[in-house]
Symmetry: C2
Subunit: 120 residues, 2 copies
Amino acid sequence: MPLFEHHVFICTNERDESAARPSCALEGSKKLKSAFKDAIKDAGLKHKIRANDSGCLDQCEHGPVVVVYPEAVWYGNVHPGDVEEIVTEHLVGGRPVERLRLADSCLNTDHCPHRKSKGK
Amino acid sequence: MPLFEHHVFICTNERDESAARPSCALEGSKKLKSAFKDAIKDAGLKHKIRANDSGCLDQCEHGPVVVVYPEAVWYGNVHPGDVEEIVTEHLVGGRPVERLRLADSCLNTDHCPHRKSKGK
């Protein structure tokens, strides 16, 4: 079989409510993951696209966070109502949904301006 | 900051011991993830390479399973003793470790010859 055309990782990390940083599960990402699974299945794309739980993607201030590979497109503040657009426009149409993309300046840095705490 | 040069997802899914399919956590993948984290940190590559927990990658008969993006290289039966070679040869040197790669015929299929059960 060919490799997945897209592999969608949805952070479902859950911290204690008192933790210094937020966590995607507390922002509803488990329902988001189910919405991706359902939408991919309903579109008949199960063997082309996989939606996957992931542990912390370390972009916690932007949750729920999603990263799509192999193209390395990062999305933040994604909710179930956004899934159809991501599937139709990005995963099928090849056009990432710009309004949901994380800014490059927030990715892969301890100094994201949205990050208030260095704690876990 | 630039995107991660490599994003390493290590399946840490854990099923009950009586489940129809095996699961990577029961094959030791939590220690494997820690070994990747440590090796990446020790090599000074923390902002270039991220090791991440993932949920089930659905290659359960080949666990512990690892997939590296953006290049979509899949590895199976990976143990902590393999980590240094993957980091040095693949993630730094750009040469995937062929002896650990999953066969294309086992990926993304319900009919992998190693799969005994259709159950979860």
